[in-house]
């Protein structure tokens, strides 16, 4: 891919010479007196893939939502196909040829693919819904994209996340969109599913559909986009051909500092001590034969594809789906974790992957959330925890209107900090973090990293699952890679992404940091594996 990319881009520069399909200039928006967008615009040509990047809070979503008709602009102009437009509803925009695939899926799981694609615009014949036409058109749209794995009459709940994403795109296409906006289309996709989306984006581009592509994964931006617009703090930083940028420069424009500055170094006099957790051949229905030591003061990263058993491993450690075989020792004593309550009492904390569904009671206050575990498991320590809470929250730099504010109104980063505060209150000895920085902005990420280092210094043992390889590499003292429910490799700190990926895809088998037997495993195809790698932040 690397070889043909500059060529492809050179060919594609012609795309940018034609008549633009969409021109947005000087868009402004403020909410309750807070300006979130000032003078932002972009120009979009037919067939152009236009990357829109910026940190969380930079204004990307607001910009997209103004184009889509979700918000009304305060100032500025949008012309679509040469005429000025002002949409007041996403459906109106879609009918005018500007469709948006929002980050949250807008699909009904119980309805079929065809019913979802034509939701709200079901074709009629003799006054009745024409189901045959609906199915036929959906099949045609899927075939157009070269998708033959999705059945038009299958309920959406039976599809994988990647397939659901495709249904969203088909929905956008079914209105004959000339412009499609995609908000983080790969956010919920596993690495190997991303390739399918690439194919679709390229196919759409060939057909002259212009695409606004929002993603946090910079590798995708460089792989796909002809032009890149960078936003920061609601203002336009730059907008120009992707070929003129590289990752470092792009990150610098987005945040004003290089990538390496994200990951704080281990704090001075952090001591790696005795093993806190020892796993010996543990397994249950989802994981098997895992050997792992987690020592006090140590941060161990767990890498692996989605579905490789990473989450299941920490859930088993936390007693949610207990191990049924093997031996687990905590501080040298054999334990059998059979409930979360037992795990909490034993000094284990689990920061779950899905913050909103599993980490927080969204319509309760910061205070109630932060004291939840203490109240239910260590009721006698509630008073003390309550007194310490303001200090904990301010040390985490939670920005809020006070501890009585409902957590649903906090940003993702602040919500995550509340989750962390909840577990810090239990004074854990072992902290399990499952995708601790998913969907939070850079500032909050750094706060999470700093906290991890601080806990390590205090002798807490930390196990961190992450899909972002730079994060795994930047933070881990050791890296355990999971594949197919087993720990396929244990790698030293600062291992490179290619090694981690080949272990994650099952093409490298390593034990105790040394390769013990790749003979039986057929040789990997490093090129295709590397294409899945994520050079995000």
């Amino acid at each position: 891919m690397t070889a043909e990319q500059p060529q492809a881009r050179a060919d594609r520069s012609a795309v940018l010479d034609g008549e633009p399909v969409l021109v947005a200039t000087g868009l402004e928006k403020s909410f309750f007196g807070v300006t979130v967008l000032r003078g932002v615009g972009l120009t979009l040509h037919p067939g152009e893939v236009h990357g829109l990047v910026g940190e969380n809070g930079a204004g990307k979503s607001t910009f997209m939502k103004i184009l889509a008709g979700v918000y009304e602009r305060d100032a500025g102009s949008i012309t679509l196909g040469g005429s000025e437009v002002a949409f007041t509803h996403p459906v109106q925009a879609a009918h005018a040829g500007l469709a948006t695939v929002f980050q949250e899926f807008n699909l009904l799981p119980e309805r079929t693919v065809a019913q979802n694609v034509f939701l709200g615009r079901e074709p009629k014949r003799h006054g009745l819904v024409d189901r045959k036409a609906m199915l036929a058109e959906t099949r045609a749209l899927l075939a157009d994209l070269g998708i033959d794995t999705i059945e038009a009459d299958a309920p959406v709940r039976t599809l994988t996340v990647a397939e659901q994403q495709i249904v969203e795109i088909v929905k956008a296409l079914s209105v004959d969109a000339r412009v499609i906006q995609m908000d983080e289309p790969t956010a919920a996709l596993a690495d190997h599913e991303v390739e399918l989306l690439y194919t679709i984006v390229r196919r759409l581009s060939e057909r002259g559909v212009a695409i606004v592509y929002v993603s946090h994964r910079l590798k995708e931006i460089f792989d796909l986009c002809d032009t890149i617009t960078v936003l920061k703090d609601g203002a336009l930083v730059s907008s120009g051909p992707a070929a003129e940028l590289d990752t470092d420069e792009l990150v610098r424009r987005m945040v004003g500092r290089p990538i390496s500055a994200y990951f704080p170094a281990a704090e001075a006099d952090t001591v790696v001590g005795e093993p806190r957790l020892e796993l010996r051949g543990v397994g249950n229905a989802y994981v098997d034969g895992v050997d792992l030591d987690l020592r006090a003061g140590e941060i161990v990263g767990i890498a692996g594809l989605q579905g490789s058993g990473r989450t299941e491993l920490v859930e088993a450690l936390f007693g949610i789906a207990p191990f049924t075989r093997g031996e687990l020792r905590l501080d040298g004593r054999p334990v059998h974790m059979t409930s979360a309550r037992q795990a909490v009492k034993a000094g284990i904390a689990l920061i779950t992957e899905d913050r909103k569904a599993q980490g927080l009671a969204l319509n309760q206050s910061i205070g109630d959330n932060a004291l939840l575990v203490i109240r239910s498991v260590f009721a006698r320590r509630t008073g003390q925890a309550r007194r310490e809470l303001p200090g904990v929250l301010s040390s985490l730099e939670v920005s809020s209107r006070g501890i009585d504010q409902e957590v649903q109104y906090l940003s993702g980063g602040n919500q995550q900090k509340v989750v962390l505060a909840k577990w810090l209150a239990t004074k854990p000895k072992v902290v399990l973090l499952d995708e601790p920085t998913r969907g939070i902005d850079v500032g909050a990420k750094v706060a999470v990293y700093t906290l991890m280092r601080r806990l390590a210094k205090e002798g807490v043992a930390i196990l961190m699952i992450s899909s972002e390889l730079p994060e795994v590499i930047g933070m881990s003292d050791r890296i355990v890679v999971m594949h197919d429910g087993r720990a396929s490799a244990e790698l030293p700190a600062r291992s490179d992404e290619a090694t981690i990926l080949s272990a994650a895809t099952g093409t490298l088998r390593v034990g105790g940091a040394k390769v013990v037997g790749t003979a039986d495993a057929p040789g990997p195809d490093p090129v295709s594996d590397a294409s899945n790698e994520e050079a995000g932040r």
Binding site: N106, E122, K124, G283, A285
Partner: protein, 360 residues
């Protein structure tokens, strides 16, 4: 966590059995058990008379449950149905006043009044944003107050011609049950083939998604409430036909509010809305009718009847819930020893099938 139940897998994916099919299987099971129990006391479950009893028992609840299905699909509820039933029986009997010539006008009046009540329910739920449970509890109490104030007992007179509807049958099939099944057919067709019907699933499944797809989200909910009140009114007309008079308590005595909701849920419709079917509901109604029939034939203590009904409802919903939980497919056995665990870690990873599984 126990191992997931055996399921048919298509391209590495789990597929749930269609819920109407499960209701059908449950119904067959209940009929078989019922037939055996009835036979054990020396009676024939499948006699024409007994079949007629069961089908008759289905018709009133069937009407109510059809409308309730639509409302529940929209993620609302209708608790006002028993009062609409009583009111309808009274309006019908009063207006007919024993004169067959008044039948059309009486039926029309009943339908109009019930439609207006449904409209009020729908508007309160969608425009005032009052939860359906509370909204219809309120309108139900209002109607109850009106009934209690104005009626001390039965009232009006239903002419013989109208009483025939509740009394005649074709073979073992009562006319009332046939009408109910025609209404069910119409309801199923409405859900499958009209936009409004389709949009009921959408609004009940996820109102936000429906709105972002350009659906006017109030409309399906209002229509569902109107139709629900109308089917309750049909039930009221049928009861008037059977009793020969209107009664202010007939709806409440039948417990049609909770029983209809139970039948809908028993039929596999999600109480949160968005998934379900009319035929599932009819299956649920049939299960209740068979269970009731068997208990009557066996002369079971009436209090025990309610216990059995309660057990059936709870058990059915527990079964659905356990099935609809999205369990991850186990990758390894749960036993203490894992036979295929390689001691030699250099063994090749177990086949591509597992990788597919992992990505599903």
């Amino acid at each position: 966590m126990s191992a997931a139940t055996a399921t048919s897998v298509r391209r590495g994916r789990r597929r749930r059995l269609d819920s109407s099919l499960i209701v059908g299987i449950a119904l067959v099971g209940v009929i078989i058990i019922g037939a055996i129990l009835v036979a054990s006391v020396g009676r024939n479950f499948f006699s024409a008379g007994n079949i007629r009893d069961i089908l008759t028992g289905m018709s009133v609840l069937g009407f109510v449950a059809i409308g309730q299905t639509l409302v529940i699909l929209c993620a609302s509820l209708d608790l006002s149905v028993p009062y609409v039933i009583s009111l309808s029986s009274l309006i019908a009997a009063d207006l007919m006043a024993g004169n067959p010539a008044n039948i059309p006008i009486a039926v029309l009046a009943v339908l109009v009044v019930s439609a207006l009540i449904g409209l009020a329910n729908g508007l309160i739920v969608t425009k005032l944003k009052v939860n359906g449970f509370i909204a219809t509890l309120g309108t139900g109490l209002i109607i109850k107050g009106y009934l209690d104030t104005n009626y001390k007992g039965t009232s009006g007179e239903v002419p013989w011609e109208f009483q025939l509807i509740g009394a005649t049958g074709i073979g073992p099939v009562p006319v009332s049950t046939l009408i109910m099944l025609v209404v069910a057919l119409a309801g199923a067709f409405f859900l499958a083939r009209t936009r409004t019907g389709n949009h009921m699933f959408a609004v009940g499944g996820d109102e936000q998604v429906a709105r972002l797809s350009g659906i006017r989200t109030a409309r399906p909910v209002i229509i569902a409430h109107v139709l629900c009140s109308i089917t309750a009114a049909l039930a009221g007309l049928l009861l008037a036909s059977r009793l020969g008079v209107g009664s202010p308590t007939v709806g409440v005595q039948g417990g049609y509010d909770l029983l209809s909701i139970a039948a809908v849920v028993l039929g596999g419709t999600l109480l949160m809305g968005g998934r379900g079917s009319i035929w599932g509901t009819i299956g649920g109604v049939a299960i209740f009718a068979v269970v009731d029939n068997v208990m009557s034939v066996m002369q079971v203590n009436p209090f025990l009847k309610d216990v059995v009904r309660g057990v059936v409802i709870v058990a059915a919903v527990a079964v659905y819930t356990s099935r609809s939980l999205d369990r991850r497919r186990p990758r390894f056995g749960t036993g203490a020893a894992e036979p295929d665990r390689p001691d030699d870690r250099s063994a090749p990873p177990p086949a591509a099938a597992r990788e597919k599984e992992a990505s599903a």
